[in-house]
C-alpha cells in the first residue's frame, strides 16, 4: 500500500508538482519542428541572393508570415526547454544555476520577441 494520498496519486505530478509537463512540451515542440524547420530551410534556400524587398515580400505573404511566426515561437519553447536541461545537468552551484535558468528564459523571450516584432513589421507595414 502506498503512503501517498489519493489526491497526490490521481494528480500524478510527483515531488516537483510539475508532472511530465516539461517532457511532453519538449516532445510536442520537437514533432512540430520537424515540418516547420524543413519549411524554414527550404524558404531560406529560396531566398539566397534575394534583394531585401524580395525577402520582405516573401515574409509578408500571410501563409509565410504565420509559418515563420510558428517556427520562431515553437523553436524558442523547444530551445528554452532543452537548454534548461543542459544547465540543470552541468551547473551544480545553486545560485549560478538559478541565474543561468533565468538568463535562459530571458534569452528565449528576447530573441522570440525581437523576431516576432520584425515579422509583424514586415507583414503588417509591408516595409
Amino acid at each position: 500500500m502506498s503512503i501517498r494520498t489519493p489526491l497526490a496519486r490521481v494528480e500524478g505530478l510527483g515531488a516537483a508538482h510539475r508532472g511530465t509537463e516539461h517532457f511532453t512540451r519538449q516532445r510536442a515542440t520537437a514533432i512540430a519542428l520537424v515540418p516547420l524547420s524543413i519549411w524554414f530551410t527550404c524558404s531560406a534556400l529560396s531566398l539566397i541572393g534575394a534583394e531585401r524587398t524580395d525577402a520582405a515580400a516573401f515574409l509578408a505573404e500571410p501563409v509565410n508570415a504565420v509559418l515563420m511566426a510558428l517556427f520562431v515561437i515553437t523553436a524558442m519553447i523547444h530551445m528554452a526547454a532543452g537548454l534548461q536541461v543542459v544547465i540543470e545537468d552541468y551547473v551544480h552551484n545553486e545560485a549560478g544555476k538559478v541565474v543561468l535558468l533565468l538568463l535562459n528564459k530571458s534569452f528565449a523571450w528576447l530573441v522570440g520577441a525581437a523576431a516576432i516584432y520584425a515579422l509583424l513589421k514586415i507583414a503588417l507595414l509591408r516595409t
Binding site: 516532445r27 524554414f40 530551410t41 541572393g49 531585401r52 515563420m68 520562431v72 523576431a115 520584425a118
Partner: protein, 137 residues
Amino acid sequence: MAEQAKKGRERPLSPHLQIYRWPVTMATSITHRATGVALAAGTLLVAWWLIATASGDDAYSTFSLVARSPLGLVILFGFVWSLAFHLLNGIRHLVWDAGYGFEIKTADRSGILVIALSVIVAAGIFAYVLLSNGAAS
C-alpha cells in the same frame, strides 16, 4: 571512518570519458546536445535576418555581406549541419520515445544512419548554397 570520509579519501574511480572507446550511441547522444546548443546560438542569426529584413536596405546588405564572407559561410555550414543532425537524430529520439529501436544493434545502425544522412544532407544543401551564391554574385 567518518572523519576519513570527510577528508576525501582517494577512492578508485570507474573508467570514464577518456578511457572508454566511444560507442556510436554515446557519440550521437552528446552530439545531439552539442548541436542543440549550437542551434540556440544560431537562432540569433535567424533573428538578425528577420530584423535586417524589417529594418531596411543598409541593414540587409550588412547581413548579406557577413553571410557571404568566408567566415559567414563556415558558420552557416555549421548551422545547416547542426540543424540536419539535430532534426534527424531528433526523429530517432521520437522513435525511441514510441518504444522502438532499443536493441543495441538497431541503435548503433540508426546512429550511423543519422550521422551519414546528416553529412549528406548538409553537403547537398551547401553545394546548392555555393552554386546559387556564385550565380547571384
